[in-house]
Amino acid sequence: MADFLIEIGLEEVPARMIAGAEAELGRRVSELLTRERLLAADAKIATFSTPRRLAVLASGVLEKQADTEEQLTGPSWKVAFKDGEPTPAAQAFAKKAGVAVAELKKVETPKGEYVGARVLRAGHTAEEILAAGLPKEVLAIYWAKNMYWRAGKPERFVRPVRWVAALMDASIVPLEIAGIAAGNVSRGHRVLHGEAPVTIASAAAYKETLRKAFVAVDAAERRQAIRKALDAATRTVAGARWREDEPLVETVVHLTEWPTVILGNFEPEYLALPEEVLVTVMRDHQKYFAVEDAQGNLAPHFLAVLNTVADQDGAAIIRHGNARVLRARFKDARFFWDVDQKTTLAERVESLKYVTFQKELGSYAWKTEQNLAVARALAATVTNLDVVFSEPALVKAVELAKTDLTTELVKEFTELQGVIGGLYARAQGLGERVALAIYEQYTPASMEDEIPVSVEGQLLGLADRIQTIVAMFGIGNAPTGSKDPFALRRAANAIVKILAESELPLTLSDVLNASGAEGANKTQVEAFLRERLQFYLKDARGFAYDVVNAVLAAGADDVRDAIARAEALTAARGSEDFLAVSAAFKRIKNILRQAEEKGFALGSPRSVKLASEAQRLADAAAVLAPQVAALREQRAYGEALGRIATLRPAVDAFFDKVMVLDSDATVRGAHLGLIDEVLRSFSTIADFSEIVAG
């Protein structure tokens, strides 16, 4: 058994793509070796990556495939041998199988006697298999954006491949990728190691060899080093903490081969700028971590993750350089802030006419008008339901919501749209409700994000998104497959999330009705929202798929009610009685379907004298049905499901003793009527027949 190493040397790969590609390469190597019977039972696959390389180390690779024996069947014996002499058919088969005619044997099959040949296939070496199969696996890695680099355009990849190292223990595997023959030579850190070749003595020595060349090839190790270095640098400021930022940590992990951290400072006067602006500049534009003081307020420091280790002079130069860039950016932001204040949001409404929302639909002035109509309709609905909020504040917020698109600061920091509008509204004294609603209009931006805290913000967010979805569906821009260029799924997810996590007494159809959608457009959006609700329950809330299906079959309009039912059903699903009742409901559905197919009519269970087991079920159902209905009304779903589970003995006995499809039409009709009533009475919380046992 041997260790196999493959390292693809690249020019700097975009940070956002590295983790996925590293995993994919590991999977492809593992699958190739498994498919080719080259992995030992206890084999291990380790993957590595830096901006300049993707690597896989497979430990426990067999040197050679096991030889195999194959039994081939040819023409029938009668055709192959005439009077004991081989015919051309026999000769052709022997040739194809690679054996002498004399070695052909008679085999008995159910269809008669045939000619057989046993063929020994010698296993290939791992080197042969890898040399032949691995290059196309590497070149098949998925990249969000590819490029050509060689003349004649023979292949595309994320960036040019510059070297390949492929080793089976200490010997080079002779493979070629993108015109580059594999060797045993890698490259070290561009600056700390320089251009001298890094020879890898054996596959197993990969990680340690590269470490000596100032490359930490294990991303997890760099992640840990970066976190520790951030802690250490922050400790130099008393009471300070760095702002946790998982995505930023991931980015810098994939931007560095040998990470270190420096702490730099900026002038405290810039703390007068809104924190959102400062953090955006640091995080999104400079990839710096923000630092806060013991009270959680932003402190005038930043943390930069370097791809080098600097000496004292170097550290001073690098700190100074980074601080200089940051200062210039803050200065710009302050300039934009000051310029923007010269024109109030109210004065900007007019210019929304010149900002396109969507070519086929209209400008943001149009969009604002539409949003206003939807928001007013939503406001009317919730006002009737006693929700406390300020309608004038909502209207003002909707009117001004998009005006920050015309500000310099949003043009510079597009990711801060909404936030900037909210900050300006506050600075311009438009009132906290208006400011907050504008500020929060784009939240939640993702499933992990929080919903707006203000009712005005929630309503603005709902109105803006449903208007966009309905209008976009109307002009044929509905998402298809993996294509969703207008992020309409995200918009619908946010609608579901707001309804789920706020206290707004609104259903999906309330929201859809407020949009004024009609006809086919409305039906389409309705189905789309339902699909998003299903996604939310399954993927965001983690309910089992059968629970989700069962719950949505009994109603998919009231989001919070669906969640409550799904919770109760998930809890009830653990009980054996409940599962037995669910199974019985599935049986009832099947019987009713059969009956319908055969044209059997449903009768009344009260029209004949029922067998005692049937009467017991009818009695039990009659007692339980009003109780369950009352509990459903009070949304005491857990208790309702518990009561339904008590039907089990009656149901079991019924199916045990009673022939449902009795030959007597009246009795049969009565039985069918009975189980139909049972099904209807107890399927209002969920369609239990969807529940899958186990």
Binding site: E11, E12, A15, R16, P51, K145, N146, M147, Y148, W149, R150, A151, G152, K153, R159, P160, R190, V191, A225, K228, A229, A232, A233, T236, T256, P259, T260, V261, I262, L263, Q286, Y288, A304, N307, T308, V309, A310, D311, Q312, D313, G314, A315, A316, I317, I318, R319, H320, G321, N322, R324, V325, L326, R327, A328, K331, D332, Y354, V355, T356, K359
Partner: protein, 319 residues
Amino acid sequence: MSAAQAAPHVKPTSLTFQDLLFRLQRFWAERGCVIQQPYDVEVGAGTMSPETFLRVLGPKPCRVGYAQPSRRPADGRYGENPNRLFKHTQFQLILKPPPVNVQEMYLESLEAMGIDLKHHDLKFEEDNWEWPAGGAWGVGWQVMLDGLEITQFTYFQQCGGLDLDPICAELTYGMERIAAFLQDVDSIYDIVWARDPETGAPTTYGEVRLAEELQLSVYNFEAAEVPRLWEHFNSYEAEAQALLAKAGAVLADEKASTVEKQRFPLLATYDLALKCSHLFNLLDARGAISVTERVGVIGRIRNLAVGVAKAYALQQEAS
């Protein structure tokens, strides 16, 4: 892993703005590049010079570098913003096909400007580039030196709507940024452009260029006459379109001689397209182009640029 806190003096470079350019030009000249003078028609970026836009087309290898003043009327700030300019200097380099060690060569060029990489933090961060009006795009990086973007490094994939084969590497150095960084000045206008060899007296960037930034900002934002700009635009476009129509006929004509094809003034046609592009930028700075018009006008420029590129490719095949 955190660095020590002692702060030795950060020494600014003694190299002037023009020294840096000289060094860069010499460095690349020594690596086989033709050092061209900047193009003498207004462009928004070094890419738009025919030395890039047209030479990247077709199979013929090419290595060229030049310092291109790039005009972006809307970016003007009357000389009041220390970091933003109407006209900045791009040192533009085309390597076609790109050598396998193009990144290493690039790093050496930084060393040639006196940047000791051992004392800096350098990263290649994804940044893809496109110029829709030129039908051009590529993938690459912004090169970050101590958090400052100093170069745009692009592998051109398409230009003038044509697939490139071979592709080329385009390096664009932002000279003002690099100079301000190395000289450690907070305002572009404080950059030392040149220094008197005898007295050591500096001539600053501000002395050389501030008046131009101010006056051109006034022109671009206030004085330029919109109807006249449109007239110019329409007039240049009409002439370019007429030439393109003729080019199509001549270059597709099997009976036309090679000489006839070669002497067709496509390069002049391209100049007309550049004029249109600059006029568009002026109109844009004047706020004279509505959102609805915008896409259409960009489309008109694209027609010219792509038309020239296609005809140019045919013309090259004919020679």
